[in-house]
Every structure is written in C-alpha cells, then in structure tokens.
Amino acid sequence: MTTRAALVISLALGLVPAAPALAQASGQQQVKLASGTWWGSVGDRVELTIKDQLSTRTLQGIVRKIDAQKGLVTVEVTVDGKTSQRPMFASSIVSMKTLGPEDAGAPASPKDKGAVTTIGGGSKGADPAAKSPRGVASGKTDKEGWPLDENGFRMSDKTPVFVLPWVGPVGQTARNEEMDAIAAEADKWGPGQIIVLDIDSPGGLVTEIFEISASLGEIRKRHRVVAWVREAISAAACTSMHCDEIYFRTVGSLGASTMIAGANTVYGPQLDAFKDEIGSVIEKNGRPRMVFDAMVLAKDVLTYTKDPVTGKVTWHDKVTGQPGEVVLSDEKDNLVFTASTALDSGFSKGTADTEAELGKLLGLDDWFEPVNPGEKQPYGRKLAANWKKLFEDCEKDIDLQINILQGAPKSDPIEQTSAEIRTIERILQWERRCKPCTDSKGIDRERLEKMLKDARKRLVDLRRAQQR
C-alpha cells in the first residue's frame, strides 16, 4: 500500500464514530462499562451490578434507553412492587448481562454472578431464549447444517468465540485479510460476536497498520474485538490498541512501536502523520494518546498514579514525583507493557494463560469455538494455519529456487536456460499465490516477466542454433 493510500484510509478512519457506544446495524449497541463491554439493545432484559460509592448492588430490569453521547443507560427496575426507570452512568456499571428479550419472561437466576459481560445472553443455566444469541429458532438450517434463528443467523446454546491466531510478522503472516475473513464468518452468527485476536507478533510493516486500522474500524462496528497478547511489538502493539479490549498472557509484552524505515527511525512529516492518525484512533478507542506516544519515541515519558481509595489511574507524560508514582518509560526508554504493569495500570482488562481463563474474563461460562461440519478445527485457526503454511512454503521454495539458479551452471546451455525458465515460472506462480511473501523477498513481477521473456527467446535461439 502506498503512503498516500494509507493516508486516505487513515483519514477516513477519523470519521468512524467514537466509543463508548457504537450504533449497530442490527440495533445492538456497544456500551463500555467500568470493566468490560456490553452489547445489546433497548428492550433487553438485563442483570447488572452497579458500584455506588462503597456498596455494590445487583439489579434486574429492562433497558429502556441507551444514550451513547452521555454514557447513560436507563433501566426499568421493579423494587418492592414499584416499577421505576433509573438512568445510570455506564462507568458505574461493573457488569451487565443480557438475560433475554423483554418478552422472554423472567429468566432463571444466573449462576455466574462473577461474570463481567455476556454477549447475547448466552448464559448457561438461563432460560432457553437466553441460551440462544438471537432468540427464536426458525426451524431452518444453513447449508453447513447450523440451525438458524428468525433473522437467519446461526444459533447455538453456547456463546461462540471466534479466535484468529495472529502470528508472525505484520503484513506477512499477520494481516488484515484474515481479520476481514473471520469477521465475515462471525457475521453468520449475527452482530455482537466475540472475535479474539490471539496476538504473537514482533511487528512488521508500518504501512500495514493503516489497512489493519481500517479493517478493525469496520469490524468493531459489528463485533466485539479482543486482543489476547503473547507478544505484540511495534505494529502489533498498535493493532492491539485498536481492539475493544486487551488481555495479556502472563508472559505477554506489548509496545515498542517506533517507526522504522530500513535501519533508521523515521522522523519528520511521515512520523507526525503516523502519530496523528494512529494516535487519534487509539485515543478514540479510549486509550490515552500519551501511552501510544511513549511507545513511539524514547524521549516521551509515561508514568501513572493510582488513587488509593478508588483505584482510578491517572497517566502522566512526565515524572511528577507523586507518592506511589510508577514510571513505565523514562526519556531513554521505549514503553513496553508486561502483564503486571498492564493490569495494574488498567491498560489490560486481565491476564489469562488459557482459553478457559480468558473465557471467564470475557464473562463466558464455556469456551466454545464453533467448528463447521466436516472441518477439524475452528474457522479462524484453520485460516491462520493455512496462510502461515503457504507463506512458509513459499519462503522456503523461493530460497531454494534462487539458490539453485545461482548455483553452478549446467554444462548444456539449453538445459541451463530451460532450468532458468522453470525457476522463473515457479517464482511467478508463488507471486500470484502469496504476494506478501514474494514482496518480502523483493521480487518484482515486471522484472521477472521480462527475464522470462528474454530466457524464452534465448531458448528458441539456442534450439535453432542446435538444429543448424
């Protein structure tokens, strides 16, 4: 992608509506809570836990209004036989769970009181309507055999999770194309699905981040996108910060987003554009810009302090000397979070080493990755594995072909030229199948095609000469 195109996309990103609430095509809205996110719509029967001063209380009721701008959720609750509508700040809601549609009747008491968030009310032990993400079964199935609800979305009695292993260099094995593909798969289950990007990447091409930013901006309008970090360095750190929520593995590390061209740091207008555009998206996602800045250049400082009573975190772009101040990055360092610093500062929502642990943090009773009939593994895992294998095969074979081509020439010039043609044709085939790999090898299609043309002509000449 050219820088110009990247700028256009990133400018377009600036038009994406901001969190905390994003209107959904299906009427579902995203509400950022004190901890976690709730997806749902007006009319949903919910159970919510509110933190009010020093007390915590749990209520059940029906959502009557969602005010995205003010961050207010109005819930109709019945207490002592009296029904009233209570507006509540989303930031005071510790957890919120959909129990079903308004007309589904009072559900059974949910068992998982510690749950943070549940998408579509897929709570084990809740009533049948609450079990289904979309409610009422239509009696139909899709071509892959999944039962469909009345809206044509797939149904299951468990809340599905769509995991995409996002592994390796950004732009090579970790790309936005697979993000788009898994989002399309999640679309079959309706909006509000959980997509987990299982990130293990040392970073890569900065230009790719603009495409990733565009893809994630679109996907987040429909789904809840979660970054689960093993390693998210450089462009992968930026990618993580584009997600709704970030969770770490215990060994996780995230940061070091210095922009590099060749072997040098990029400064000047290019860096400013990168910081402005990506920084603004990250800021709109609810993360302080100074966190991103401290990952980009060493000189930018980041510290934080925590209110000893409320635990509220305040970020600082210089060392303040306040009691309990934690310096994450001084003027010589590039910011890299570990699991403990991310959790303590509230940068991450939690730490999980297994799917089961992550599921709990996401508010799920069970970890359920749908496997399509006839497949051995879930869609996202297969998608990532196939692409990674193709990329690695391509990389290995191109190295082999180039080495053979550069090796000792054959004694017969006709054979030598034929071998050259075979090699070029093979590399051109790879270029069509796995362009990111051939790009990473600096392979230029036009140049190869010219070489192929020349070699074919040479072969014809050699054969003619032999016939004479």
Binding site: T49, S55, T56, R57, T58, L59, V77, V79, D80, K113, P202, R230, E231, I233, S234, R249, T250, V251, G252, S253, L254, G255, A256, S257, T258, I260, A263, N264, T265, L297, A298, S329, K332, D333, N334, L335, V336, F337, T338, A339, S340, T341, D353, T354, K396, D399, L400, N403, I404, G407, A408, K410, S411, D412
Partner: protein, 441 residues
C-alpha cells in the same frame, strides 16, 4: 533461609494434620441489591463452625501464585510422589521448545507427567554455557570480541524459551511445583525464576540475564530503545510467571538498573535504588543483578538453600518421598541420542569433505548428505547444532543435494558421450574433479 532440623521435623508432622483454611464462599445475599429489604429474604442456614487453622511452624506458600508444594499446604496422607523435570545442558539444544515447527522433548515429558500423576514436580535447572559463573557477561563479551560467540545464539531463542516456560506452567499448572536451581547463567536464568517456589543449591547462581539487552542494537537512540525494550520486555514476561516484582525483573534484565531490598518479615520489597535497608544486591549501572545462593536466600529471592533432592524435600516438609525417574530418563536418553547422532554426522561431514577421486564418488556424497539431512530432521537439536557449528541448514542441504543431482546427471552424460569408458583418466573438461572429457572438449 536455613531452617533448623527440628523445625523441619515439626513442619513435616504438622503437615499431616487436617486443616481447613478455605475462605467462606460468598452467599447470595452478598451480591443482592441493597434495595431489596433484608427481611424479605429467607434466612440463610447457619454455616457449621469451621475448625480454626492449627498453628504451624511449617513454611507455606499460600500468598503466592501457583500451587504450593509445601507439606503444610498439601496435607498429603502419604509420602509424595515426586517427578523431576530436568532443564539441563545447553540452551537451544538440550533445553529447547518447538524447533522449526517440531515439538520439543518436553512434550513427551508433559505427557509422561500426566501418565505418572505425581504429587509434586521439581524443575531441576542446571545450565551455564561453561563460562566463569561470577563474570558471565565479561566472558561472553571477551568471546564476542574474538568472534567466538554470537550473542544471538545464546539468546535469540528467547521467544522459544518464553513459550516453553509458559507451556510448562500452563500444561502442568495443576501440579504443585518447585524450581531447584543448581546453576542458571545467561538465558537459563529465565527458567530459574519462572516458578514462584524456588530453592537453590549451595553453589548455584542466577546471573547473566544482561545477555538479553545485548540483543538490541540499531543505528539511532530510538531504534536502540525499541529493540532493547522489545527484548527485555519479552524476558521480563517470563519472569512474571514466577510472580516477581517488576523492580526485580527490571534489575535482572537491565544492566542500567540497580537493586536493593527491604525485608518485612518474609516479604521482600525490591527497589531500583541502593536505599534498601536490608541488602544492596547490585549497585552497578554496567551489569544486571546477579545472585549467588547466599544472596538469593538472604534476600528471599529463593525459598532456601538445598544441598540435594533429599534436602530439598525435607525443606518442603517431606521427610520421605518417592522419586519418579521417568522424566529424567526421557530427557537424558534423548540428549544422549541426539549427541550420538551428532557425532555420527560429524564423521559423515568429514567424509563428505574428503577430496573426490572420481565422479563416481558423487552418489556416495549425495548419500552421506541425505543421511545427515534425515537425521537432522529427526532430531531438531541436532539440526540446530549443525547450523550453529557448521552453518548447515536444511535449506542449504536441499540446495547442495540439488546441485549434486545436477553434477551426477552431468557426469553420467559425459560418460555416455565418451562411450562409457568410466571415470578414470582424462580430467579437465568438467571443471569439478576428474570427471572425464567434458562436452566442450
């Protein structure tokens, strides 16, 4: 901290007493709305009174992450079954994770642990690259100057070791575990600190993690900061498995951090300055913090000093235990086997390098290389050693084999052209050994 024998015995005896320290489960009323009058709720049945936790002099680990291996916490009715997992030898070969997509030897060990169902795991760490234990980094730097060593070979497997440590922790997380450090220098220190419970042998050392910082580099200050931050961040991630404070992990991986500590009872508070009232571990801005057994024990980094397995188990509170030897056997057998194959490969490489007398030697060379390649595929540590020692990768072997095929074809063609007179005399034409008259002749 060395415990008098009498306390060990008392601890062991107390460990067998039944205890009940479970926290009461939250009741439904804990989570209910304050709007609901308490009177309308049915009274919760009275909880039966729980016996108080008996006083214990035994050490426990209830305040730490991970399952405690201490007798006082485990309360076993019989001597424990103890499974030893060696993390020993050379980093990257003996101690390895997934290499080129192939599972490492620890996958077999993990499967065996599940089969054996031990009560306690002991991760025995002994790795040090045969360098002077006190001046590990100095030795590394000296060797780097002489081009004898590439720091990337020592530490570039950092992500592999991180993933291995995480895998061992998550896959075997159900078992109480303790690390027993006989030696941990360089990157091996990551494993020494990846478990919350750790004992060290009297001669043991944990040092040399500044090797991680040497992986950085770059043309300008920002790139250097980026690379340094990325590598040290990854290393610190492994240390988080052990539940260590960030100020400690910083000092262990960063030469530019000093380290001291305050002690409050059995709790250690690490500080990145030299103002700690208990101990100044490291006051140099040139090297990262290093621990010998004494300092590790006195600062509370290690739970104590154990002379051997018997001593370790006694310190954990077990006067008797049953040791399961299968894990050690799997590990040592595999190490011995791949090293034996490596010796065979070296001999074959010597044969391969012998000057050819005749083009008829080409198929023999091809056979030798095919055999080496096949062994390297079977034993990933062998493949890695061939790469480190001889620069020979699978891709390179594939290319050489391809070239050998071409040479064999050329040779056969030349023989046909010369009437099949064999590869004896002649010389010259082929340009690669005495291959008989070439086509240009």
């Amino acid at each position: 901290m060395v415990m008098p024998q009498i306390l060990v015995a008392a601890a062991a005896a107390l460990a067998l007493l039944a205890q009940s320290d479970d926290a009461p489960a939250p009741t439904d009323t804990d989570l209910q709305s304050v709007d609901v009058p308490a009177a309308t709720e049915p009274a919760a049945p009275a909880e039966p009174a729980k016996p108080a936790k008996p006083f214990s002099l035994a050490r426990t680990g209830v305040d730490r992450k991970g399952k405690s291996p201490y007798a006082a916490d485990m309360r076993l009715a019989a001597p424990p079954k103890v499974y030893v997992i060696p993390i020993e030898g050379q980093m990257g070969t003996d101690i390895h994770g997934e290499i080129n997509g192939k599972p490492g030897i620890y996958e077999k060990v993990i499967a065996d642990v599940r089969e054996q169902k031990p009560d306690i795991l002991v991760f025995r760490i002994n790795s040090g690259d045969d360098r002077n234990p006190d001046k590990y980094m100095e030795a590394v730097r000296a060797q780097m100057k002489e081009d004898k060593i590439d720091p990337r070979r020592l530490a570039s497997g950092l992500t592999e070791y991180r993933d291995l440590a995480l895998r061992l922790r998550t896959e075997l997380g159900d078992y109480p575990a303790v690390a027993y450090v006989q030696e941990a220098r360089g990157v091996a220190s990551l494993f020494a600190l990846a478990w919350p419970y750790m004992y060290v042998s009297p001669e043991g050392r944990i040092a040399g993690l500044d090797i991680v910082g040497s992986l950085g580099g770059g043309n300008d200050a920002d790139i250097r900061a980026k690379m340094f931050g990325a590598w040290t961040g990854i290393a610190k991630g492994v240390l988080e498995l052990g539940g260590h404070e960030n100020s400690l992990t910083d000092a262990l991986v960063r030469p530019d951090r000093v380290l001291s500590c305050d002690i409050d009872g059995r709790s250690t508070r690490w500080r990145n300055d030299t103002g700690g009232d208990w101990y100044v571990v490291d006051q140099s801005m040139e090297q990262s913090a290093r621990f010998n057994a004494k300092v590790a024990e006195e600062t509370g980094l290690a739970d104590g000093i154990a002379n051997d397995m018997d001593d370790l188990m006694a310190l954990l509170g077990y006067p008797e235990f049953e040791q399961v030897a299968t894990g050690e056997k799997i590990f040592t057998d595999y190490s011995a086997l791949w090293r034996k194959r490596y010796d065979e490969c070296k001999k074959m490489l010597d044969d391969f390098r012998e000057p050819m007398e005749d083009g008829r030697d080409l198929p023999k060379r091809k056979q030798l290389l095919e055999k080496i390649r096949s062994m390297a595929k079977q034993y990933p540590p062998l493949a890695r050693t061939l790469e480190w020692r001889f620069g020979l990768t699978d891709d390179q072997m594939a290319v050489i084999l391809e070239q050998l095929n071409e040479q064999i074809k050329d040779y056969q063609r030349q023989r046909r052209n010369s009437g099949g007179s064999g590869g004896g005399g002649g010389g010259g034409g082929g340009g690669r050994g005495p291959m008989g008259p070439g086509p240009g002749r």
